[in-house]
């Protein structure tokens, strides 16, 4: 069987029989109805989306502020703090004795 000729004949058959361009009745109405359905505003979704965005924005702002605080605010040296406290406690008794002598 000559396959090249068979291919040629079958392609010619497809060319000779183009598909129909008939349109079902009122199909454009169906398309428009579908578009209306797809683009109808969903108020619940609208509000939910807005609230979630607000929540995420608030959390992000809190994180940023906290990070800035941690970077910018001076951190007390804990060892110096305890040393000062210890010294004050130790010398408190001496200070009290001096006051009594006077």
């Amino acid at each position: 069987m000559d396959l090249v000729e068979l291919e040629r004949k079958l392609i010619a058959a497809a060319r000779a029989n183009p598909p129909s361009d008939t349109v079902p009745v009122a199909f454009e109405k169906r398309v428009m109805a579908r578009l209306t359905e797809l683009h109808a505003p969903e108020y619940a979704v609208f509000w939910a989306r807005g609230l979630w965005r607000g929540a995420f924005a608030s959390i992000a702002a809190a994180v940023v502020v906290f990070a800035l605080h941690m970077i910018v605010a001076p951190r007390a040296d804990e060892s110096e703090f305890f040393a000062d406290q210890f010294e004050s406690a130790m010398l408190a008794a001496v200070d009290q004795e001096q006051e009594v002598d006077l």
């Binding site: 069987m1 000559d2 396959l3 000729e5 068979l6 291919e7 004949k9 079958l10 392609i11 010619a12 058959a13 497809a14 060319r15 000779a16 029989n17 183009p18 598909p19 129909s20 361009d21 008939t22 349109v23 079902p24 199909f27 454009e28 109405k29 169906r30 398309v31 428009m32 579908r34 578009l35 209306t36 797809l38 683009h39």
Partner: protein, 212 residues
């Protein structure tokens, strides 16, 4: 003209020559849809439905599938209308969208293509028999020939079917196919070569199964 272009909202690039070739009423409708008047889309839909249906029927057999494809095309056209730049007629833009939607359909609905050709009907077998004996007498206008080629196309891979349909059956140029599909010209040529090879393998299988 520049004022009209700005009014229609098709970008700032001057394309006056192209605009002259286009239907001004159509451009007005598109501009109105883009401005939010959805009802202006219906005349466009009605105008191009036959063309879109004819294209979809090349790639789907069941009418329900054809209607699904056509509806999908128009939904995408509406959603992507803001990307239409009026550098070419609206019909070209729409046909590009249609071909790509049909291709997506083919890829999503790959059926079992391994059905044996022993399911050929008697008229198809008779036509092949006649072709085998006297190729010149086998009528390419016969229903059997048409059914055979549809069966053959159904068996091709999506890209092969698309390129054979556009190049061989619709008689488009490689450049046109490239524009319609979004594939580069070299890719179209490679796919065309592979599609023809695939088709020859299927035809060889028909010949083998018929004579077994």
């Amino acid at each position: 003209m520049q004022g009209a272009e700005a009014h229609l909202g098709f970008g700032s690039e001057p394309c006056f020559a192209k605009l002259w070739q286009m239907d001004p009423a159509e451009l007005e409708l598109i501009a109105a849809v883009r401005a939010g008047r959805r009802e202006c889309f219906e005349p466009l839909v009605k105008k191009y439905l036959p063309r879109v249906f004819a294209t979809a029927r090349r790639y789907a057999r069941r009418e329900s599938e054809v209607e699904d494809i056509v509806q999908e095309v128009w939904i995408k056209a509406y959603q992507k209308l803001h990307t239409y730049r009026a550098r070419a007629p609206f019909e070209h833009w729409l046909m590009r969208l249609t071909v790509r939607t049909c291709y997506d359909f083919l890829r999503a609905h790959r059926r079992n293509r391994e059905r044996a050709f022993s399911e050929l009907t008697k008229p198809e077998l008779d036509w092949l028999e006649q072709f085998g004996q006297q190729p010149d007498t086998a009528n390419e206008n016969a229903d059997a020939a048409r059914q055979l080629v549809e069966r053959l196309l159904d068996r091709l891979s999506p890209s092969a079917r698309l390129v054979i349909t556009l190049l061989a059956i619709e008689g488009r140029s490689v450049k046109e196919v490239s524009r319609l599909t979004g594939w580069s010209v070299p890719l179209v040529k490679v796919r065309a070569f592979r599609a023809r090879a695939e088709m020859r393998r299927l035809l060889a299988k028909i010949a083998t199964e018929k004579y077994l």
